[in-house]
């Protein structure tokens, strides 16, 4: 090494050191940060969630979601409706998996009345419940690509979700808001040809899951954007009340379909609860993918074993629910969805507390966004998966 070269070297080093000390000085002086407003109209927010993030350079130092752009006051509205009218409201909470919203409320009312739907109705309820899950989560899997910058998966998702929505429409008459569940059973039996049609669609959906798994989950860019991002440890997930795939991705083996006894048909078939130990964004999405595939297999098995008989129990024409309190929650596409129903023996509930999954799932956002980089905000929000109607209610 010649002396001039080492001189340049030393000068360069001195320059870099000066820059670094300047930067440190800036930190000590608390340079003015920047406030970044994400939403309320942002493609990554599935509705109108607004996130206010304070940044220091590229890093988030503080973030807070701002809700209420879609608050519809369902808890107040249930107090002036009759029990059968409430299903129309709760349909709109998680609008991508509407049927699944009706079920826990109807189950709570049935629990208070001490009646149970006939076996065939339980089976059909479970089938439609799982179809809602497939419709809901398949869209999530496609949308996940869009938020990472990959356009193709969302077209596949919309294409294949349509088959499931057609099934739901065929059985209930509504693509998005079936309003099909009744106290004591269901509005109607399944239409002719539903079973064969559903089998074919489930096969298609399994192919869709494989495609997504190859295209997205096997993609290197996707993995590097998801792995190790937004890690939520088990104890944090539990005390924030995260549920569904978000909780199972943090290594908690808990699924309300398996772990409580409900008059539904999940315990009559063989299936597996998927968990992942990592707790990062990748784990959450991966668990959802596996659950979608598992749901298609649950539906297949239920179709094989569907009993015959009526779909409606004997209930009075005017439904009065006896005085009491009941809590029923189910494992909805987004997580634990529950209703705490207080009845005073009237035609309508006295008070309904709606415990929706996304509200708790999103309440962890201020915690998990602290210290992440700006592009990861979208990854984390996408992986937590929320639906605005499910936060604001």
């Amino acid at each position: 090494m010649t002396s001039t070269e080492s001189l340049i070297d030393r000068r360069q080093m001195a320059y870099i050191a000066a820059q670094a000390s300047d930067a440190r000085l800036n930190v000590e002086l608390e340079t003015e940060g920047m406030t970044l407003n994400i939403g309320p109209q942002h493609p990554a927010t599935h509705g109108t969630l607004r996130i206010i993030a304070r940044l220091d350079g590229e890093q988030v130092v503080w973030a807070e979601p701002s809700c209420g752009y879609m608050h519809r006051g369902y808890e107040k509205l249930t107090e002036v409706r009759t029990y059968p009218q409430v299903t129309t409201l709760v349909n709109r909470i998680d609008w991508l998996g509407s049927f699944a919203n009706e079920v826990p409320f109807i189950l709570a009312a049935e629990k208070l009345m001490g009646i149970e739907a006939p076996p065939r109705a339980q089976w059909i309820r479970t089938i439609l419940f799982e179809l809602s899950r497939i419709a809901n989560v398949s869209l999530f899997l496609g949308d996940l690509g869009v938020q990472m910058g990959a356009i193709t998966p969302v077209f596949m998702a919309f294409r294949d979700r349509e088959y499931v929505l057609n099934l739901i429409e065929g059985a209930t008459g509504g693509r998005f808001h079936p309003n099909f569940d009744r106290i004591g059973g269901l509005k109607d039996d399944l239409p002719a040809g539903f079973i064969d049609e559903t089998r074919a669609v489930m096969k298609k959906l399994r192919t869709f899951c494989d495609e997504i798994e190859n295209l997205l989950f096997g993609n290197e860019i996707f993995q590097s954007r998801m792995r190790g991002i937004g890690v939520i440890p088990k104890d944090v997930a539990l005390q924030y009340g995260l549920s569904g795939a978000n909780l199972r991705a943090s290594g908690v083996d808990w699924d309300l379909r398996r772990d409580q006894s409900l008059p539904m048909a999940w315990d009559k078939v063989d299936w597996k609860v998927w968990t992942h130990p990592d707790g990062d964004a990748f784990a959450r999405c991966w668990v959802r993918l596996q659950e979608t595939r598992e749901a298609t297999m649950i539906v297949d098995q239920l179709l094989d074993s569907i009993p015959s008989g009526p779909v409606m129990a004997k209930v009075p024409r005017i439904i009065k629910v006896p005085e009491g309190e009941a809590w029923v929650s189910t494992e909805n596409p987004l997580g634990e969805m529950g209703y705490y129903v207080v009845s005073k023996g009237d035609l309508g509930p006295f008070r309904t507390k709606i415990r929706s999954a996304s509200f708790n799932n999103i309440s962890v956002v201020p915690w998990v966004l602290k210290g992440v980089y700006v592009p990861d905000i979208i990854t984390i929000l996408a992986s937590l998966y929320f639906i605005l109607g499910d936060i604001d209610r």
Partner: protein, 216 residues
């Protein structure tokens, strides 16, 4: 405490009775009342000054790690009924006695929270009476971080204060909104402005046969 014990064969009486016994061992006579529905659910009512202690006992000593929800109940019957009265008529007589639900109670407002045991898969509903004129209770944030948003929501919807909550901003409503919408004496304004059409079971179609039926 109970977290390492084996799961009872029948998830009924013994398991749920034990939750009440365990909680009584933790907080003593602050546990005012309890109700166990075999195979269904557990309700406990605690003294308001023991609200935070109850949360701590449930999470740290009894393993109820999973925070489900926190809210409140206003037990006063609504003075507006279902908002279906004819506004031109004098308001009908209404029963305005306050009757509390499971596990009893003495006050109009009650806290209602639910926490769940993640391995035993049982939940417990916790209630506590609140002072009607000055409903304030200690915040659960130090125990369950997830209580933050639920307490904000309860604060804006019921006007219940939470001691130790860092920021009781409104969750949904505008900052200058007056009143607490989920209190029973807060009218559902949509019903006040326009009579609810749902009283009629099926509205007649315009020009239909039974247009002169029981519609407006």
């Amino acid at each position: 405490m109970s977290s390492d014990a084996p799961v009872a064969e029948i998830p009924g009486d013994t398991l749920r009775e034990r939750i009440v016994d365990d909680l009584r061992a933790q907080i003593g006579d602050a546990l005012v009342d309890s109700l166990v529905k075999p195979g269904d659910d557990v309700w406990v009512r605690v003294r308001p000054d023991a609200w935070l202690a109850t949360g701590r006992a449930l999470r740290h000593a009894m393993g109820f790690d999973y925070f489900c929800f926190l809210s409140a109940v206003d037990w006063m019957p609504s003075p507006y009924g279902k908002g279906e009265d004819d506004p031109t008529e004098p308001p009908p007589e209404r029963d305005d006695t306050i009757r509390q639900g499971y596990a009893g109670g003495e006050t109009r407002f009650q806290m209602l929270a639910r926490v769940t045991h993640p391995t035993l898969h049982v939940g417990v509903n916790v209630k506590c009476d609140l002072d009607d004129a000055h409903p304030v209770v200690e915040s659960w944030i130090s125990v369950y971080a997830g209580a933050n948003w639920h307490e904000r929501e309860t604060h804006e919807m019921f006007g219940i204060g939470f001691d130790g909550h860092p920021d009781l901003r409104n969750m949904y409503l505008p900052t200058d909104f007056e009143g607490h919408p989920l209190r029973k004496d807060f009218p559902l304004l949509a019903r006040m402005v326009k009579p609810w059409p749902g009283i009629v079971d099926v509205e007649p179609l315009p020009g239909g046969d039974d247009e002169e039926g029981d519609g407006e």
